[in-house]
């Protein structure tokens, strides 16, 4: 878990550099301070489950094994990116082969590993591939889709759990309400992670909802809901694990409210002067990675040197991946009208997955 959280942070640090060099197209949205909940929740999933992350769930993507280069390719709008330069940041989508295999209800388990060259961190050759559905910008729309993925996979006879993240602000959308209510009635294997990071862009949560515990949003749907300290990775993992297990056991949807803090502005352009300084200071003390480091050290799972080594590894890995992405070409303008509809033989894009160097250690 530590690796994924650290990797997520290092990737974003790298993105900030690329952003300053204006190599990132459009805005850059960071998850600084939220890496813990992203990783802790996704870590409770099987590699073959479904994730519907938001811009601040870099940690979840890393946990599911998405190759960092894919992220850099997207942010730099490269032609080899999952969206072939057509869509933003983490708007990436991946469907395992079984979803297209119509030979049997559930499809054969022939998730061919992605076709790109391996790299030292090791390709994820054996494990199954996850379903990854990045968001569209319209907040809340992921929730009905996540419900449909849970329902659809169940119809295909697969025991897949669908996990979707949503911000405090986005829980005010009609799509969130309709989607989660439908999932609840259908007892769909869906786990929604509602992230109370105190702000929706500049809007404090008190202007977003008249409840103080975001998990109470779920009270309207008759599903289990719990609040957890989002910066305590192990606590997050524990509750996520319970909700994922019950979903997989066919007990239906649930919602986890995570109490965390967006430690920077909404995006790089936002200096967040509307955020009270004390609030930031108070949360700096609770940095999820620092806290998890302490746990590891206290438990003797690793010593400070080892952790420093892991950090160096993550940093250089992120750097290599960024450089690799930077070298790749921009998309070809001749393609703009390709692939709007099916049948014009426009190649389906790939998404590459990698194996954590600590896959066994984990």
């Amino acid at each position: 878990m530590y690796w994924f959280a650290r990797l997520a942070r290092e990737i974003e640090e790298r993105l900030v550099i690329l952003f300053r060099q204006s190599k990132v197209i459009g805005g850059l949205y960071r998850s600084l301070g939220q890496e813990g909940e992203s990783v802790g929740t996704a870590y409770a999933l099987e590699k073959s489950d479904a994730v519907l992350p938001l811009i601040r769930n870099m940690g979840a993507l890393m946990t599911m094994g998405v190759r960092p280069r894919e992220i850099f390719l997207q942010y730099m709008a490269k032609g080899e990116s999952n969206s072939r330069g057509r869509d933003l940041n983490i708007h990436i989508v991946h469907m395992p082969a079984w979803t297209r295999d119509l030979s049997s209800p559930a499809g054969r388990d022939t998730d061919a590993p992605a076709s790109r060259p391996a790299l030292q961190v090791g390709r994820d050759t054996d494990a199954k591939e996850p379903v990854v559905v990045g968001p569209i910008s319209m907040l809340g729309d992921s929730i009905p889709v996540a419900a449909g993925i849970a329902m659809g996979a169940r119809m295909r006879g697969r025991t897949l759990v669908s996990m979707a993240w949503i911000g405090d602000g986005a829980t005010s959308t009609g799509a969130f309400h309709e989607g989660l209510n439908f999932a609840a009635v259908q007892k769909a294997p869906l786990v929604v992670i509602a992230e109370d990071n105190k702000f929706a862009y500049s809007t404090p949560i008190a202007r977003q909802m008249a409840i103080t515990r975001i998990d109470e949003r779920a009270a309207a749907y008759g599903i289990p809901h719990e609040m957890v300290d989002g910066n305590d990775m192990l606590a997050v993992y524990d509750v996520a694990r319970r909700m994922v297990d019950r979903a997989r056991a066919g007990e239906g949807a649930s919602l986890i409210g995570v109490d965390t803090m967006r430690m920077e502005g909404h995006a790089q352009h936002d200096d967040a002067r509307y955020v009270p300084k004390e609030l930031v200071e108070q949360w700096e003390k609770k940095d999820p990675i620092a806290r998890f480091t302490k746990v590891l050290v206290d438990r003797g799972a690793a010593n400070v040197e080892q952790i420093a080594e892991i950090d160096r590894m993550a940093r250089s890995y992120a750097a290599e991946e960024a450089d690799a992405a930077e070298r790749s070409p921009m998309p070809d303008p001749a393609t703009i009208t390709r692939g709007v509809y099916a049948g014009d033989d426009y190649a389906r894009p790939t998404l590459e997955f990698v194996r954590s160097p600590f896959a066994d250690a984990d």
Binding site: R86, V93, W98, D141, V145, A146, G148, M155, A175, F182
Partner: protein, 324 residues
């Protein structure tokens, strides 16, 4: 061959596609035991079970969103919007999520969203909509609207088998008023192909849906006055069958665009643009439009019939065209 109603043809298409492919399933409001507000899905839940005929909450965004998600998993969802007017409630999910998914990440969204459209039944402002123009400017969506039982069945089968999101508008005025021959064996009507409902030489009336019958009645009346009108039934609204439209206009040199949606901003505009750009040399008269008045659909029958295009309005416009 059996003669069936328009609504029965739709039911048959759903039945046969569900029997053919276990991945086809239905979602919508009151479509299960009740069989839908218009009984289109009657008997399907008994036959295929509640798992494949899902009664949803009153949540159009969720119906379409869930369909998108299920289609990602390899399923083939067919959504019913109880009255097509309520498609406005999932406009976002359709235009932003479904329409762009393939283009953005190569993830196709093979869903069908169908529902009763159109007026003429005293439905008032919220149960009479013809929504095609709302969606015509969104690449990635397909749209069809049948006028015959044959097309109703063949287009729905084609839509269900299509790999892209298809909006299927069924005109409620035709449900039980229209009957025609439908083959016993499996067939489809390909998307994107118009049909010539009546050959003519003097002008082309280009239309679709319930207006096809208004056009045919007008053509009969015109014939008595020595005018031979050709009637083109578009069937598919996206993509439009440009070739068929241009071919007919090249032959008749006069175009009358007829639709039931209100005039301004209607699909007639797109057709006029296609014709005036690509058939300019052939035109012997202005391209004219007959459509509903620019107002919400009024409820009282006397108001609605004045509001809708009528045979006499089409005849009058046609004569202006041929006499031009």
């Amino acid at each position: 061959m059996a003669v069936v109603t328009y609504i029965e043809a739709i039911r048959q298409a759903l039945f046969e596609e569900m029997a053919r492919d276990e991945r086809v399933f239905l979602m919508g409001e009151d479509i299960g035991a009740y069989g839908g507000a218009f009984k289109v899905t009657e008997g399907l839940s008994e036959k295929f079970g509640e798992k494949r005929v899902i009664d949803s909450p009153i949540s159009e965004q969720a119906i379409v969103g869930a369909a998108i998600g299920a289609s990602y998993m390899g399923m083939r969802p067919v959504c019913e919007i109880q009255f097509i007017d309520f498609i406005a409630c999932c406009f976002d999910m359709l235009t932003n999520f479904a329409a762009t998914s393939r283009y953005r990440n190569g993830a196709g969204v093979p869903i069908v969203v169908r529902g009763p459209c159109g007026g003429g039944v005293g439905g008032g402002p919220f149960h009479s909509l013809n929504p095609e123009a709302f969606f015509l400017n969104t690449p990635g969506l397909k749209m069809v609207e049948p006028s015959t039982a044959y097309d109703a069945k063949g287009l729905l089968k084609a839509a269900i088998r299509d790999d892209d999101p298809v909006l299927y508008f069924e005109h409620k005025f035709l449900y039980r008023r229209i009957k025609d021959e439908v083959p016993d064996e499996d067939y489809i009507v390909p998307l994107g192909k118009a049909a010539v409902r009546r050959e003519g030489t003097d002008l082309s009336i280009i239309t679709f849906g319930a207006m096809v019958y208004t056009a045919l009645d007008a053509a009969k009346a015109l014939e008595e006055q020595g005018v031979q009108a050709e009637v083109i039934d578009l069937r598919s609204l996206a993509p439009l069958d440009k070739e068929a439209v241009l071919e007919s206009v090249a032959k008749t040199n006069r175009a009358l665009l007829l639709h039931e949606a209100t005039l301004t901003g209607g699909i007639g505009g797109e057709l006029a643009a296609i014709i005036s750009e690509h058939a300019f040399e052939y035109l012997d008269a202005p391209v004219m439009r007959v459509a509903s008045a620019d107002a919400p659909v009024p409820y009282a029958p006397p108001l609605e019939s004045a509001f809708l295009p009528s045979v006499s309005k089409v005849v009058a416009a046609s004569k202006r065209l041929v006499e031009y």
